[in-house]
């Protein structure tokens, strides 16, 4: 536990330094850059690229959460039962679609820039959240549901006060999955001219500058690992509170 804490603090410090003070790392990356070439990416500030990257992921993921949870609620009501086999098939089949292919296919429809990336992240992010929300809402302990009905809660109250809070840890696991995928896919979004940290890696790949590749890769990797870790901790806390073992 103690070691984990130190490790996390060190990773946060390293990430902040890489993003805010990239100049400090010049001696470290210098041997990797081509002779006479630039060592530190300066074409745009790493901070603004990071913020734009995180904004894309946050916007797509929150939109996906809203839509996916709403759909999962509709499908788990008696009136939506006819759509349940279909929605299960769509989530199964949809998740076999490679995220990169979704991104590439969005370009002909939406053109280049942040738009197609946002749409691709949103569409792909829907599936894990929907799947987990549906699992969470359809596997509630029957005794609890019986008790909720017994104390006279109506459908809406049962949903808001019992079903959603109990399903929350499972839903959150889906959100975590989709955020991690979105962070990775957003990186590739820079090939369709979205402003993300992938720009640094791509610039390195195009000019054979390993220093850029390593710099961009480290920042994106640290962001992904830290965000994943934070969401796992949040999940554990919620799962403990709702007395339900977390899954996935």
């Amino acid at each position: 536990m103690r070691i984990g804490l130190v490790l996390r603090a060190a990773m946060v410090a390293l990430l902040l330094a890489l993003v805010l003070r990239p100049g400090w790392f010049e001696p470290v990356f210098a041997p990797l850059a081509p002779a006479g070439g630039p060592v530190i990416y300066t074409r745009s500030s790493l901070l603004s690229l990071s913020l734009s990257h995180l904004w894309l992921v946050a916007a797509a993921s929150s939109l996906a959460t809203l839509v996916a949870v709403t759909l999962a609620i509709l499908v788990t009501r008696p009136a939506g039962a006819a759509f349940r086999p279909l929605s299960r098939t769509i989530t199964n089949v949809g998740q076999t679609f490679p995220p990169v292919a979704v991104l590439a296919l969005a370009v002909p429809v939406l053109g280049f820039g942040a738009g197609p990336t946002l749409v691709a992240l949103f569409l792909y992010g829907l599936l894990p959240i929907f799947e987990n929300a549906m699992t969470g809402l359809s596997t509630l302990p029957p005794h609890t549901m019986e008790a909720a009905r017994g104390i006279g809660l109506n459908n809406r109250q049962r949903l808001m006060r019992v079903e959603l809070p109990l399903a929350l840890p499972v839903i959150l696991a889906g959100i975590r999955l989709s955020v991690v995928i979105a962070l990775g896919t957003a990186t590739i979004g820079s090939t369709v001219a979205a402003r993300t940290l992938g720009e640094v890696i791509i610039a390195g790949l195009l000019t054979n500058n390993t220093a850029f590749v390593l710099q961009g890769g480290l920042i994106v990797g640290l962001f992904a690992v830290l965000i994943y870790d934070a969401l796992v901790m949040l999940e554990h806390r919620l799962a403990r509170r709702s007395g339900r073992a977390q899954r996935g």
């Binding site: 076999t96 990169v100 990775g184 590739i188 390993t210 690992v225």
Partner: protein, 403 residues
């Protein structure tokens, strides 16, 4: 058997209301989507490869008799999909609709290209994709309510793939722009296909070769499990482009310092870094599912095998592995589908595969080149997923399949 069984046990009032409605609610959704799609441009005609095309409605894309037959097929297909509780009829409807769609696409492309200039290109537009989506959703919905066994699903998959191959080989779609892109790159396409298969399946094999022993070790030693699984899930979190990028300096260094490595083809660019990155991504599902699969053997079965005097090795091979096989195969399914998709990124670091076409197409804003890379990738991922699902089902000792 379809909707009504879901409603069993719910309020009698609702069941009665549902029984009165003879239509399938998803079918209504697909039909509405289909009707809407007919209002969108069906094909797009462009003067050359790069400029944006002009939309052509489905009704104006070919001669009147062809259009009438094709639209009748599509409409009849969607109408059959409305019938509730008759999944075979709905499946037939989706196939009929798809046949009409292919007819209109093929005849429309030929008609539009006629006299449109040497460089003219015809590609499917939004209307086509929406209709295809509606019909495929119909097929998926019909299949999911049928609950077919693994052998029948396999047979159906073979039939559908054969139909797809027949359509592609017959040259029916040869006038489409994507087919023209293909004809200009037949050799490159073949190389890319083999490279993509090599990356996806080769990394699966390597991950299995490393992951199975590691998973068995982790199963035996809980202490090892506690340190291996977090490291592997850490690797899984790293975004793919970063991972591929980080492999380049690493393997470049290995290639230039370790004697003999360069002769084996290990270098900072090309196949090796892509392959290693894919293997690293694959380890978590393989190891985690092997551990979970081995742990799934019931205590009574283990007790019995111990009582029979089996050694630890015999227990593993004859009891734990067979019982855990469905879970282990499910891990391989995750890996295979994931790697088929991730192998696209190899195109960015000179690793080959379908990604080459995707990123070339993105650079040249050539939509059809993007499709030439993306569609086979999606198909490969889908077929792998379906085949692996069938294998998982076959490995599961179900009561229906008593041996």
């Amino acid at each position: 058997m379809t909707g009504s069984s879901d409603l069993r046990g719910r309020s009698p009032d609702l069941r009665a209301r549902a029984a009165r409605l003879p239509l399938s609610p998803p079918g209504i959704l697909f039909a509405a989507l289909g009707v809407l799609a007919l209002a969108l441009p069906f094909l797009s005609l462009a003067a050359n490869r790069i400029v944006a095309g002009e939309g052509v409605s489905a009704f104006a894309s070919a001669g009147v008799p062809t259009v009438a037959v094709a639209i009748a097929c599509i409409a009849a297909g969607l109408a059959l999909g409305l019938v509730r509780g008759a999944p075979w009829m709905r499946l037939g409807g989706s196939l009929l609709g798809l046949a009409g769609l292919v007819l209109l696409l093929s005849q429309g492309a030929t008609t539009l290209l006629d006299g449109a200039g040497d460089f003219a290109r015809v590609s499917p537009a939004a209307g086509f994709w929406c209709l295809a989506l509606a019909l495929m959703l119909l097929m998926a919905d019909a299949l999911s309510t049928m609950g077919l066994g693994p052998w029948r699903r396999g047979g159906l998959l073979v039939l559908l793939l054969a139909a797809l191959a027949a359509v592609l080989w017959s040259g029916l779609l040869g006038d489409l722009s994507i087919a023209q892109e293909y004809r200009g790159r037949i050799a490159a396409f073949r190389t890319a296909t083999w490279r993509h298969v090599g990356l996806a399946f080769g990394s699966l094999a390597a991950a299995a070769a490393i992951g199975f022993p590691l998973g068995i070790l982790c199963h035996r030693r809980p202490g090892l499990r506690g340190s291996v699984l977090p490291v592997l899930s850490f690797l899984q979190t790293i975004p793919s482009l970063a991972m591929f990028g980080l492999m380049i300096p690493l393997l470049g260094w290995v290639g230039s310092t370790v004697p003999g490595a360069r002769e084996l083809g290990i270098a900072g660019i090309g196949f090796a870094p892509a392959f290693v990155a894919l293997v690293l991504y694959s380890l978590l599902p393989v190891v985690a599912n092997t551990v979970a699969g081995l742990a799934a053997a019931p205590a009574s079965a283990l007790e019995a095998s111990r009582g029979m005097g089996m050694t630890a090795m015999q227990r593993l091979v004859r009891v734990e592995l067979p019982l855990g096989m469905p879970v282990i195969l499910a891990g391989l399914r995750i890996v295979l589908v994931q790697n088929v998709g991730l192998a696209v990124i190899a195109g960015l670091i000179g690793g080959g595969g379908y990604g080459t076409f995707v990123f070339q197409g993105l650079n040249q804003t050539a939509t059809d080149l993007i499709l030439l890379g993306a569609l086979p990738t999606v198909l490969m991922a889908l077929v792998s997923a379906i085949v692996m699902d069938i294998l998982v089902d076959l490995a599961r000792p179900t009561p229906e399949r008593s041996r």
